[in-house]
């Protein structure tokens, strides 16, 4: 009734009708399909309400601004990094700012096992030996060392100091190594010390750690007795698990060694002055470091902890960090801007591992050969993954591995991997005949859930279907579950990768030895095992290198794996920063040799 009345008086200026009309409009809810005539601009209530709303908005803005001051105070409470330079290059204080991929999980060198902790550790600690700017072994705390059969002797320099001024002695090493091997420490990387006499038995709890073959004869002489003579022990001691720990300080931390900046004693080029967990870390030059003259920077700030590559690129672009890895999108811009670009191969190889257990079809050599014959790593890298820095893998041994006089792969060349569909189909037919099958049932490809693994598994599905008619079922699992399935052997093929633990080809070569726990496809070949034993025990470089060559050949001929790619990065550095080194071993990004070149900044 009212509605009918309103319809006539829609444009009525009278206030009461106006109100009625207003109500009518509200009654039919916004969601109703009925479309109503727009309100007249002169609507008093709306106008008054809008004015009121504008007033509230103004008040809200002021209130928010006031709240900001309070929040600013709160934020400063939760980050004690106040006053830290947020410029990529602080010329005045001679400090560089960089980032960490994540919060270092474990800064107690006795228990640490990851790359980020290792990178920080290489800046604040020093072992008997270290890696120099050319990634070669150089004297660290030890000024010289000597191996005589199964006895290795290290002579320590007398000017090596802890950051509290005390000398670094052979006892600090003896204590550290014995603590690593003590069962109660629960050190994941204790196995690296197993070449030392009685080390494994002590780690088992069978004998006391006192019987381990490491002894500080005096403050400056460390004598190590090995279980059997090995050729690569000196290359292992640069790793962080072998770093010294000051016993008195360690005991005094009550199990919190490495938990905070003040819960560590440093003997490296830098000391850690602040560590805001999950946020930032500040390193300053260590005045007690024996080779302090070599260190040109006064400080290094890790101002951000994130693994988001876009964020890091944006931070670089904004002049807040001095180095960043690039994605393909950013690469174009970087080239356009003429930023200094470099490539870094991380030293890892990624490959597809077959399951060689007796109940698996992939145990059949001809099937594996057929799959390798349609496999094309360069297609995978260049046309599928398409990330800057990635290179196609040819074998298990990555590019950095050295032979006798040059790159290992040049001394022991393998025929290149070429797709040969016809030959592949022949091998597939042979495999089917041997297996007594008409048609191959689908194979399970176990994959992780990273973007690269995702695209890679889908690519394989297509390749093997198109060329061989083999169906792959992708089983995508998150990290831990994938490991569980790998260990249980619940797969036909699995995408895997391996990074080196120490600077010797053996770190790759023993991977498919029948006893190696990381050989998750359970490949077992007495011929390969024999070569691994030669490489482990021989002291003759030529004999060892030949053994590596044989292993290299067997892995290819027996198609133990299909090589996929070697991971690397294209990265950009601030033009004013020189001397950043990226190592396969030790610090992934090493600032100990870096310096600020002020002149280079002028034309920027």
């Amino acid at each position: 009734m009212l509605g009918a009345c309103l319809a006539v008086r829609d444009d009525c200026p009278n206030r009461f009708y106006q109100i009625d009309r207003d109500m009518k409009q509200s009654e039919s809810q916004s969601e109703s399909t009925q479309s109503l005539p727009a309100q007249a601009p002169g609507d008093r209530l709306t106008q008054a309400a809008s004015r009121q709303l504008a007033l509230y908005a103004a008040i809200v803005v002021i209130a928010l601004a006031a709240a900001m001051f309070g929040l600013n105070y709160l934020a400063s409470l939760t980050s004690s990094a106040a006053g830290m330079s947020r410029q990529a290059v602080d010329v005045e204080n001679n400090i560089i700012t960089s980032y960490l991929r994540e919060e270092p999980p474990q800064m107690n060198s006795l228990r640490s096992s990851d790359a980020v902790s290792s990178m920080v550790m290489a800046h604040v600690m020093e072992g008997l030996l270290r890696y120099d700017e050319n990634s070669q072994l150089a004297p660290g705390v030890a000024e010289r060392w000597e191996q005589d059969g199964s006895t290795v002797t290290f002579w320590l320099r007398d000017d090596a100091r802890w950051s509290n001024g005390e000398p670094v002695t052979a006892h600090d090493f003896e204590f550290a190594w014995k603590t690593v091997l003590a069962p109660a420490t629960g050190s994941q990387y204790a196995f690296l010390l197993y070449p030392i006499l009685n080390a494994e038995a002590a780690n088992n709890g069978e004998i006391s750690t006192d019987e381990i073959g490491v002894e500080a004869v005096d403050d400056r002489t460390l004598v190590v007795t090995l279980e059997t003579p090995i050729a690569y022990f000196d290359r292992m001691v640069a790793y962080m698990t072998f770093m010294p720990v000051n016993e008195a300080f360690y005991e005094q931390t009550n199990g919190r060694y490495g938990a905070d900046a003040d819960q560590m004693l440093y003997n490296g080029p830098f000391i850690m002055t602040s560590w805001v967990h999950g946020a930032s870390m500040q390193l300053r030059k260590n005045p007690y470091y024996w080779d302090a003259d070599r260190i040109k920077l006064d400080g290094l700030n890790y101002a951000h902890m994130t693994s988001d590559s876009n964020t890091l690129q944006n931070l670089f672009k904004d002049g807040q960090i001095a180095i960043a890895d690039l994605t393909s999108e950013m690469l174009e811009e970087a080239m356009f801007q003429r930023w200094p670009l470099s490539q870094f191969m991380e030293g890892t190889t990624f490959y597809t591992e077959f399951n060689h257990r007796p109940d698996r079809l992939t145990r059949n050599l001809n099937l594996r050969k057929a799959m390798l014959l349609v496999h094309d790593p360069s297609e995978l890298v260049n046309r599928v993954i398409k990330l800057p820095g990635y290179l196609p893998a040819e074998t298990l041994f990555p590019r950095w591995v050295e032979g006798m006089n040059g790159p290992f792969r040049e001394e022991y060349p393998l025929p290149p991997l070429q797709r040969d569909v016809e030959k592949a189909r022949e091998h597939l037919q042979m495999a089917l005949d041997e297996l007594g099958l008409e048609e191959l049932p689908p194979l399970v490809f176990l994959s992780s859930d990273t973007p690269v693994a995702r695209i890679q598994s889908e690519y394989y599905q297509e390749v093997f279907r198109r060329y061989l008619g083999i169906e792959l079922l992708i089983d995508r699992q998150v990290f831990r579950q994938r490991l569980e399935k790998m260990t249980a052997g619940d797969f036909d093929l699995v995408g895997a990768g391996w990074g080196p633990d120490y600077n010797d080809p053996l770190t790759f070569a023993d991977l498919f030895a029948s006893w190696n726990l990381n050989n998750r496809g359970r490949y077992s070949n007495p011929e390969l095992d024999a070569q691994v034993r030669i490489a482990q025990s021989s002291l003759d470089p030529q004999e060892r290198t030949d053994a590596f060559g044989e292993i290299h050949r067997i892995i290819r001929e027996q198609v133990v794996i299909m090589p996929d790619y070697e991971r690397g990065y294209v990265y950009v550095t601030d033009p004013r920063v020189k001397g950043i080194v990226r190592h396969v071993f030790g610090a992934e990004t090493d600032f100990t040799n870096a310096w600020i070149d002020v002149d280079a900044g002028d034309d920027q």
């Binding site: 709303l53 400063s76 109660a184 196995f191």
Partner: protein, 310 residues
């Protein structure tokens, strides 16, 4: 009132206990464990590690040990951040998430109420159409897109200007949190705008508004006292869960803006099967959420006299 509060608190405790128990057994039934790594560990090292973390005992025993420790307020040591207690992780990182969340909620509530009221006043007119279009956008576009876009725009603005008006990422000043808070609160702001709009429209057609108009109250007073105050009720109802959701759900934003908040730990702990951190953060967040809901119910009776608690 006191009885009611007590009853709700008791229910809350039971809810939290239930969350803790379900998470504990759910977590242990997932294949894999926090000690496995890319490098296979030999039996000796594995046994040493299991003994160190108490994983060598049966799960039921571990449950009672965990419950006992939880009652004492001790969640143990993280598996991935091996030197840090879960309590320290929560204590150091929750304030960051909370500060960011608080600002995000302020943005969301202020924006939601203002824009909601505005769209209702101008229903089916241009401001309404524009804002509602943005609202749909805000609800449907996930926050990582806004985060990435926001950061990229900021970099470009900074580049063009030649100096930083706001930091691109990081934490420490209010400048660091403006953009992340806005991005984080955007979805909630859009949701609240819609809620406020429909609630406002409902109120505008209520009998008491007609009465108010009939007795000749000034439009300003009608709007402020009768319409806005009544329309804001549903928004306040969702405020509690929204605070909890924003404070706990900042994972993506925290990652993109490199903010050391608790959200990162919450998500990464699940990926890494970091048992102690999963339990600590889940119980903490669960308790926080339950507490927020109870708070809203209590506050509600204070704002709306029609609601009486018993």
């Amino acid at each position: 009132m006191w009885m009611y509060t007590l009853k709700r608190l008791l229910q809350g405790v039971i809810t939290v206990w239930f969350i803790a128990t379900a998470t504990f057994f759910g977590m242990h039934s997932v294949p894999g464990d926090p000690l496995s790594g890319e490098r296979a560990t030999n039996a000796t090292i594995r046994a040493n590690l299991e003994a160190r973390y108490g994983l060598d005992r049966p799960v039921s025993e571990q449950y009672f040990i965990f419950m006992g420790n939880m009652l004492r307020g001790d969640f143990g040591i993280s598996y991935t951040q091996q030197n840090r207690e879960v309590n320290d992780i929560i204590r150091e990182h929750f304030p960051v998430s909370a500060t960011l969340g608080l600002l995000a909620v302020l943005f969301a509530a202020a924006g939601g109420i203002l824009f909601g009221a505005l769209t209702a006043l101008y229903r089916n007119r241009l401001p309404d159409y524009i804002i509602m279009f943005l609202v749909i956008l805000g609800i449907s576009v996930p926050s990582f897109v806004f985060a990435a876009l926001g950061q990229l725009s900021l970099v470009n603005v900074n580049n063009v200007l030649g100096f930083s008006i706001l930091p691109v990422a990081g934490w420490g000043t209010v400048g660091h949190m403006l953009l992340p808070a806005l991005v984080l609160g955007l979805g909630t702001m859009a949701y609240m705008t819609r809620l406020m709009r429909s609630s406002m429209l409902e109120v505008m057609s209520a009998d008491y508004i007609r009465t108010a108009k009939a007795k000749g109250l000034s439009p300003t007073r009608i709007f402020a006292r009768h319409q806005l105050r009544n329309a804001v009720m549903p928004v306040i109802t969702v405020l509690g869960p929204a605070i909890a959701a924003i404070t706990t759900g900042g994972f993506v934003v925290e990652l993109v803006f490199a903010i050391p908040g608790l959200g990162r730990y919450f998500v990464q702990a699940v990926q890494q099967l970091d048992y102690t951190v999963i339990m600590g953060t889940t119980v903490f967040y669960g308790a926080f959420l339950v507490f927020m809901v109870i708070m809203v119910d209590l506050v509600y009776s204070w704002i709306d006299p029609r609601v009486r608690l018993q």
